[in-house]
C-alpha cells in the first residue's frame, strides 16, 4: 500500500521476477492470485524505450508528447532536464544505451502520470544519469507522486521503503 508521495524500492537478485511484478502493477500481465488496486494513471519505464529507431529523437518523443497532450514548453523542459536538447535531430538508432534511457525518462516525465513504475532505470546510465534519476524520483515524490523502482543496484532514495522480494519466496 502506497500513499501519495511514497515510494518502494523493489530489490532482489536477477530472475526473482522484479520485471513481472512491475508488469503486473502496470496491468500488462494478470497475476495468478491477488489484485492490484490503483487510482490514477501509470507510467512505465522499462528496458525498451518505445522510440522509433529510424526517426529523429525529437520526432520520436513528439509522438508520445502529442498522445499525452504535452505543451511545447514542457517538452523543452523535459528534454532539457535529461540533457538531450542537442540531440533532438539525431535518429534514435544512433543514440547510446544511456542516451536512450535518458530519452525514455523524458518521455515518462512528459506523461504526467501520478504513478511511476521504473524497471531497472539505472541500466546504461552514467553517474550523472544515476544522480539525475534519483533527483527525478525525489521530485516526483515531493510533488505527491508514487514511485515503484525495481532495481538490483543500490539507489539513493531516502524516502523509499525497500521491498526485498527474496523475503516473499514461500
Amino acid at each position: 500500500m502506497l500513499k501519495p508521495g511514497e515510494a518502494y524500492h523493489v530489490a532482489g537478485p536477477n530472475g526473482i521476477s522484479k520485471t513481472s511484478l512491475m508488469r503486473i502493477l502496470a496491468g500488462l500481465l494478470r497475476p495468478f492470485s491477488g489484485q492490484v488496486k490503483r487510482t490514477g494513471d501509470v507510467a512505465l519505464l522499462d528496458e525498451r524505450s518505445a522510440l522509433d529507431p529510424q526517426v529523429s529523437l525529437g520526432k520520436a518523443l513528439a509522438f508520445w508528447a502529442d498522445l499525452d497532450g504535452v505543451g511545447q514548453h514542457e517538452r523543452h523542459a523535459c528534454t532539457d532536464h535529461v540533457g538531450l536538447t542537442d540531440l533532438l535531430d539525431v535518429p534514435v538508432r544512433f543514440l547510446s544505451t544511456g542516451q536512450r534511457k535518458r530519452a525514455a525518462l523524458a518521455r515518462m516525465q512528459g506523461q504526467q502520470a501520478p504513478i511511476w513504475l521504473l524497471d531497472e532505470p539505472l541500466n546504461g546510465l552514467d553517474a550523472a544519469g544515476v544522480a539525475l534519476t534519483e533527483i527525478m524520483v525525489a521530485d516526483h515524490c515531493a510533488g505527491g507522486g508514487i514511485v515503484v523502482v525495481a532495481s538490483h543496484q543500490p539507489m539513493a532514495l531516502p524516502m523509499a521503503r525497500t521491498l526485498e522480494l527474496a523475503e516473499f519466496i514461500p
Binding site: 502496470a26 496491468g27 500488462l28 500481465l29 494478470r30 494513471d41 501509470v42 507510467a43 512505465l44 522499462d46 528496458e47 525498451r48 524505450s49 518505445a50 522510440l51 522509433d52 529507431p53 529510424q54 526517426v55 509522438f63 508520445w64 498522445l67 499525452d68 506523461q111 502520470a113
Partner: protein, 212 residues
C-alpha cells in the same frame, strides 16, 4: 495514424519500400515471357495473374508491420495510455492499405497493358482490387500480429495466408469470367468481414504474446 503512415509508406522510415510495387510489376512483366507471347492466352489469364501478384505484393511488408513495435514496447506504452491494441491495429490496417493499395491500382493499369487486357477486363480487375485490397490489408495485419512474437514467423505467415486469402481470390479473380458484378460484390463482402475481425483477432494475439 500519421506516425504509422510515415513509417509504412513507400520510402518511409521503416524501409516501407517501393519493393512490393516493383515485385508486382516484375510479375506482370515476366509472366508473358514465361507463357509465351500469345496475346489471347495472356488476355484470358492476365487478370488472374494480376490478382495473385497483388496478393503477394500485399504480404511482402508483413514482417515490418507489427513485430518491431511489439519488440520496442510501443503497444505496452499505448496500453498504459488507455489505447487498446484493437484501436492501434485498426489504425495500422488503414495505414497498411494506404501504403500499398493506391499505388497498386495505378500499377495495375500498367500491368494490364503488358498483359494486353482489354478495357472491360481492366475495369473489372480494378473494381475487384478496390473491393479486395482492404481484405488483403486486414489479413496482413492479422497475420503480422499473430506471428509477431514467434521465431520463424515469416515462414508461418506464408502458411497462414493461403487459407485466409483463398476466398477473396476466388471471388475477386472469379468475377473476371462472369458478366455480372456478383464476384466483386462477394469479394467486397469478404473484405468487410475480414476488416471487421482483424483488429480483434490481432489485439488478442498481441495480448497473448505479452503473456508468453
Amino acid at each position: 495514424m500519421r506516425r504509422d503512415l510515415a513509417l509504412l509508406m513507400p520510402g518511409g522510415k521503416r524501409g516501407g519500400s517501393i519493393l512490393p510495387l516493383l515485385f508486382f510489376l516484375a510479375v506482370a512483366m515476366l509472366y508473358p515471357f514465361a507463357v509465351g507471347p500469345d496475346a489471347q492466352l495472356l488476355a484470358r489469364t492476365g487478370g488472374g495473374v494480376i490478382w495473385v501478384a497483388a496478393l503477394l505484393a500485399a504480404i511482402l511488408p508483413l514482417d515490418r508491420l507489427v513485430a518491431p513495435d511489439l519488440e520496442q514496447g510501443v503497444f505496452d506504452q499505448l496500453a498504459l495510455r488507455g489505447i487498446s491494441e484493437e484501436l492501434a491495429l485498426a489504425v495500422r490496417m488503414a495505414a497498411h492499405w494506404f501504403s500499398f493499395a493506391p499505388l497498386l491500382l495505378l500499377a495495375t493499369i500498367l500491368a494490364a497493358a503488358l498483359l494486353s487486357l482489354d478495357g472491360e477486363t481492366l475495369r473489372k480487375v480494378l473494381l475487384g482490387l478496390l473491393a479486395g485490397t482492404p481484405g488483403l490489408a486486414a489479413i496482413g495485419v492479422m497475420i503480422a500480429a499473430l506471428t509477431a512474437g514467434l521465431r520463424g514467423g515469416v515462414a508461418l505467415s506464408g502458411l497462414l495466408l493461403i487459407p485466409l486469402a483463398v476466398p477473396i481470390l476466388i471471388f475477386g479473380a472469379g468475377s473476371l469470367s462472369r458478366p455480372d458484378g456478383a464476384g466483386i460484390a462477394l469479394a467486397a463482402a469478404i473484405s468487410l468481414v475480414l476488416v471487421a475481425i482483424a483488429p480483434f483477432a490481432g489485439g488478442a494475439a498481441i495480448r497473448a504474446a505479452r503473456e508468453g
